[in-house]
């Protein structure tokens, strides 16, 4: 599973970080950093929730 972020759409709302801080981090520069682009399969439910909850639909999962 690969996490892909469209940074043109990302507005750094950090909702993804609220769901899975182990994968998504918005730092004090207000940019989103994907800490792990290939998280383990057990994180899939959280990743799918991040996809659904992103206010700008900037996240997608590639299998």
């Amino acid at each position: 599973m690969r996490i892909v972020v469209d940074f043109d759409k990302c507005k750094s709302n950090a909702v993804c970080m609220g769901i899975a801080p182990e994968v998504f981090e918005v730092r004090d520069d207000n940019f989103l950093y994907v800490l792990d682009e290939t998280p383990s399969e057990e994180l899939r439910p959280k990743m799918e929730e991040a996809v659904r909850m992103c206010p700008t639909q900037a996240i997608s999962i590639e299998d």
Binding site: K11, S12, N13, A14, V15, M17, G18, E25, V26, R27, D28, N30, R52, M53, P55, Q57
Partner: protein, 403 residues
Amino acid sequence: MREIAVVGASLAGLRATETLRREGFDGRLVLVGGEPHLPYDRPPLSKELLAGEWEHDEIVLRKLPYDELELELRLGVPAVALDLAAREVELRGGERIGFDGLVIATGATPRTLPGTAPLDGLFTLRTIDDCLAIRARLDAGPKVVVIGAGFIGAEVAATCRKRGLEVTVLEALPQPMVRGLGPVLGAVLGEMHRDHGVDLRCGVTVEAIEGGDPDMGGSVERVRLGSGSVVEADLVLVAVGVTPETHWLEGSGLTLADGVVCDETCLAAPGVVAAGDLARWPNRAFDGEVMRLEHWTNAVEQGTAAAHRLLAGGSAEPFAPVPFVWSDQYDVKIQSAGRFTGDDELAVVHGTLRERRFVALFGRAGRLTGALAFSRPRQLMQYRRMIAERAAFDAALEHAAAS
């Protein structure tokens, strides 16, 4: 449950259909929408789309194929009545859709100013059609007057300034976005708009919107204030809030009181749930406070929860989110989590009001109940979680001091 009807084809309705299929519902699923469009996203209507940076394609909500959802679509056909006894929704034109389960997600409609003639150049903003009509008019470089400095009014003013247009914003309350920000932060926002060249006038009332002969296609020309003064206008946007779209439910037997009244699991009646801008329900996360949210995140979360509730039968959990909403204006990201009023304890941390970069923490009876951030997304998310955990206000202050 073999047949589910979802009435309302915007964000909450769409997410409800996706949730139903994801959780294994394989019966008949009908999605009814009053607008003639597949579900699309509204936040960009006051920002990117209005600015001309995006087009319709960019705001379509579902990029995956619709076939997978196996929906029967009825777009551009509003629901006009609900017959709970027969378990049928009546659509305009007479078609009746039978259901075992019903999701009500028909959203809300912009309020207008009573007694206003339908002049050319006078708009409300809710739909993509509204947005494109306004945008076309903005191309001519009009003097823009926005009535109402809530989320929509403030964002449209910012977008118009970005396009180099002259903007006057008229607000009845003493500060802009008071409902969303409270008076102290509302004042910060007001200053920001003025710094960007908006002619922001608070504490004013609108007496009349005047122009040519509406029967002859006359245009808007000016706004007359309660004080007697006049503001010239080539385009007027009325952005004074929305009312829940529950007209079609009158007489159905559902409790309607500024929205569809639900229990804490989003249930409005047996086999009937409501979600999104029109759902009013007691939120256990705030000790049962009854609320109706007009937030994007709520449409997603409640659309999902309501669908889950329909399938869950007796084992439903209360829908108890920490409300979250954001607004992008100029180069500031405003985000708010939780609930707060002007009377709550207030502490400004992680910056200062002057810098326009901070988190304002709100407390009531010793509990952290709200957080509002200007360009502090990382911190705001942390406080959203603390609010969910019912953290003490002091604990939040300690967290701020330690960060």
